[in-house]
Symmetry: C2
Subunit: 266 residues, 2 copies
DNA sequence: CGTCAAATTGATCGACTTCAATGCTCGTGG
DNA sequence: CCACGAGCATTGAAGTCGATCAATTTGACG
């Protein structure tokens, strides 16, 4: 009962990334620097040379990293695997507010109240670096550079939330899904993986909750994107066929989805 | 040409707030502590005793504090007035991502890239404390307590974004508006003002953009809330008549708005 | 007083939701 | 080994809320 699907080469050269992208200047360089500053080594999971005490914690697929409302004890940096974070409404509806892959930080939102306002569960076999709050708060004197990096990581999260807020306003289902796929592809790329072939780790329901639509609409949007020849979809395996078309689709604000020059293909 | 509307007692005991709420444990205590730590004094706007250099900047109604894409030079703490922050789409659509009143911090989202991803404009005569980035980055050694407070302020913003994301999913227009009003009322309360009588500083269009609906729908939602006797509305002056009813309305996820036992009152 | 933007209200239309049925994959146990 | 069930995913049909277009009113300001 190891990994349920083909996840190859996970332990090889995980942290010692090359300078990564730096082209579009996204968060990846922050993350790379963050992990460098942590001084962690993915080979054994130990933190030698790190100015702060870091431990590693494994989280099985489907298991929670922390529960909603739980006391905050630490923040976490994803070493491997994927997480979803969500809040539960009174009526039991799960509102997904984000997905986190390798190098991303979980638990920032708990700093202000000391309680986790969200719940984080692993979507597959995962592991995280654990930075206790006491260690975090003593970072300022011990490792100002790391402190700065954490500030920037938080700032990145603010930006991504602003993106999400914009996505949820006046955008068609196809555009939302297109943006999600592009964002996901970029996340894969910043991890050094292929950005054309994607394997979605989350269910349609999770995607739907994240995008603010129903899972049926997500499904229909997928078929529309396939009909437009932007992507090919086989269950959770996605291949991006026409990235420019997909970007154009994702860029389109306002309603109405226009497929390119094909009228009806029954 | 002072204040265009009845904003009373602004200079009196602005910073030395009492312990404020602490009941629902919201951000207000953070903010109060933040301003205490800044060592600023609202009477003269100077910062004596502050471990870091703080200046004050006035921003006229309708003027921008910073533009979208501008180089980030500082972060700002609102001393007086109100701001809206928004991003402009390619087609010119203004996506409002937040409103900021006294004690709230603007510019955090620019830390990661060094450029402001959003634009902030004052909704009325306003002023801000300016904390330059160089000062911010030297805070760790000079004033670790302030550094921690800024971390918490950022964390609060993350929480509020998560709220907004949840609001934009599967919630009726009336519920969205109800949540907005409650949030706004709480913001007023944390500033020591009345939470029953509100004066909205922003247009219906701004509210609509923030809530992810059109301004016509905002207008209709207002009339529905009035018909339900939850609030009374006179242009931008709002009075909350039935806070429990409003909360119940705001809590309702999923569609369908039910007005309490009144069928037709023509 | 005239102009302009904000705000309200109405009518129509469409995209998404909702309810419902079917396929599909995978894990469990007969 | 195959049947069975459970969750995920896809597709269809009908209803609805909000978007859109449009007209009117109100208020602010020169």
């Amino acid at each position: 009962m190891r990994d349920s699907m083909q996840v190859q080469d996970r332990q090889a050269h995980a942290v010692c990334l090359p300078p990564v992208v730096t082209s579009n200047g996204h968060t990846s360089d922050n993350m790379a620097r963050l992990m460098q500053l942590l001084g962690v080594d993915a080979h054994d999971g130990r933190a030698h040379g790190s100015p702060v005490p870091i431990t590693v914690q494994r989280v099985g697929a489907g298991e929670p990293l922390y529960q909603e409302g739980a006391q905050a004890r630490a923040i976490f940096i994803v070493q491997a695997g994927t997480f979803k974070t969500f809040r539960s409404s009174d009526d039991g509806y799960e509102q997904v507010v984000g997905f986190a892959g390798r190098g991303e930080v979980l638990g920032f939102d708990a700093l202000s109240l000391g309680l986790h306002p969200t719940c984080a569960v692993a979507l597959d076999e995962s592991s995280v670096y654990v930075l206790s709050l006491t260690a975090l708060y003593s970072l300022a004197e011990r490792a100002p550079a790391l402190d700065r990096s954490l500030l920037m990581a938080m700032s990145s999260q603010l930006q991504r939330f602003a993106d999400l807020v914009g996505l949820k306003s006046a955008v068609s289902a196809e555009a939302r899904l297109g943006r999600f796929l592009l964002q996901y592809a970029q996340g894969m790329m910043s991890q050094g993986q292929s950005s054309r072939r994607l394997y979605l780790r989350m269910t349609r329901r999770d995607i739907a909750s994240y995008l603010g639509i129903t899972h049926e609409t997500v499904s229909r949007a997928f078929t529309n994107l396939v009909r437009a020849r932007y992507v090919s979809v086989a269950r959770r395996e996605i291949e991006i066929l026409d990235i420019d078309g997909l970007k154009a689709c994702a860029r389109s604000t306002r309603r109405r989805f226009e497929a390119p020059g094909l009228t009806a293909s029954h």
